[in-house]
């Protein structure tokens, strides 16, 4: 399993760079991962990322865009503004979670 150092922490990642250990994630790491993909975190970004983290710990899988909007209460349109082009994967990357597996 590859390792990388980000925001001063050693973390385990998969071959693409998605973190693989839920408990290694911190908000500092989230901020640093976001800046790697050109996203500056705002309160709205954090709302989405925190929902992803909570939902993952309850459901055991990364929520899809649809679920972030219906269960997390953040409109789809806004998710595309906050995390342009590929919101589901970008959110998962910043939240230190695997890519979502659901189709919708």
């Amino acid at each position: 399993m590859p390792q990388m150092t980000i925001a001063g922490h050693d973390v385990a990642v998969d071959d693409e760079g998605f973190m693989t250990e839920y408990d290694q994630w911190t908000e500092d790491i989230g901020t640093a991962l976001a800046s790697q993909i050109g996203i500056e975190m705002t309160e709205d970004h954090w709302r989405a990322i925190k929902f992803l983290r909570e939902d993952y710990s309850e459901q055991g899988e990364t929520p899809t865009i649809r679920r972030v909007s219906t269960a997390g209460g953040i409109p789809t349109k806004q998710l595309f503004q906050l995390f342009p082009k590929k919101p589901a994967k970008k959110m998962a990357y910043i939240a230190g979670l695997p890519k979502p597996v659901g189709c919708v």
């Binding site: 590859p2 693409e16 219906t70 789809t76 082009k85 919101p87 990357y93 189709c103």
Partner: protein
């Protein structure tokens, strides 16, 4: 110990550089089960940042007509993949029951119904187009179609707008 200098941060390829991929779905069916394939694939394409168009033609007009879009039905008639005796399909009330069952299965997966799905796709940036000949044939006007439809276009318009796109006929 890992030396920060030796481990560059790995960043997944989010494909931000490729912006020219484009997908067009042709939606030609008006049954509940055949409405979904394009909607689900379009949703996936938009989530991957791909420019996505949906062109509605023939029976597919039922998906974007205000009067019909929430009344699409599923029938076991002529569909042996339901594994039901085909004779059952003609029994009164069977289509309504099959439709209810399918809608429940879809809702259980938290997949939206057709009208909400189309509006969701529109919010995600999909462009919806209606076929001119179908509009004329079915005596429809722009007002009969949902607001999310960009325009009524003819085949040559569609061929033009789908230039360089991957086209999927459903």
């Amino acid at each position: 110990m890992t030396n920060p200098d030796d481990t560059p941060v790995m960043v997944p390829d989010f494909g931000d550089a490729d912006t020219d991929r484009k997908i067009c779905f042709i939606c030609s069916k008006g049954t509940l089960d055949m409405a979904y394939p394009a909607l689900i694939m379009a949703n996936g394409a938009l989530g991957e940042g791909v420019e996505t168009h949906l062109f509605f033609t023939f029976w597919g007009m039922d998906m974007i007509s205000k009067k019909t879009q929430d009344k699409l039905k599923f029938t076991i008639l002529g569909n042996p993949a339901t594994h039901m005796p085909q004779g059952l399909g003609g029994v009164p009330g069977m289509t309504a029951m099959a439709t209810r069952m399918m809608k429940k299965q879809i809702a259980d997966l938290d997949v939206p119904e057709v009208p909400e799905f189309l509006s969701l796709l529109h919010d995600m940036g999909a462009q919806l187009w209606a076929c001119k000949m179908s509009v004329d044939m079915m005596d429809l006007t722009r007002e009969d179609l949902i607001d999310e439809v960009e325009d009524i276009i003819n085949v040559s318009d569609f061929i033009e707008l789908s230039d360089g796109a991957q086209i999927i006929f459903v």
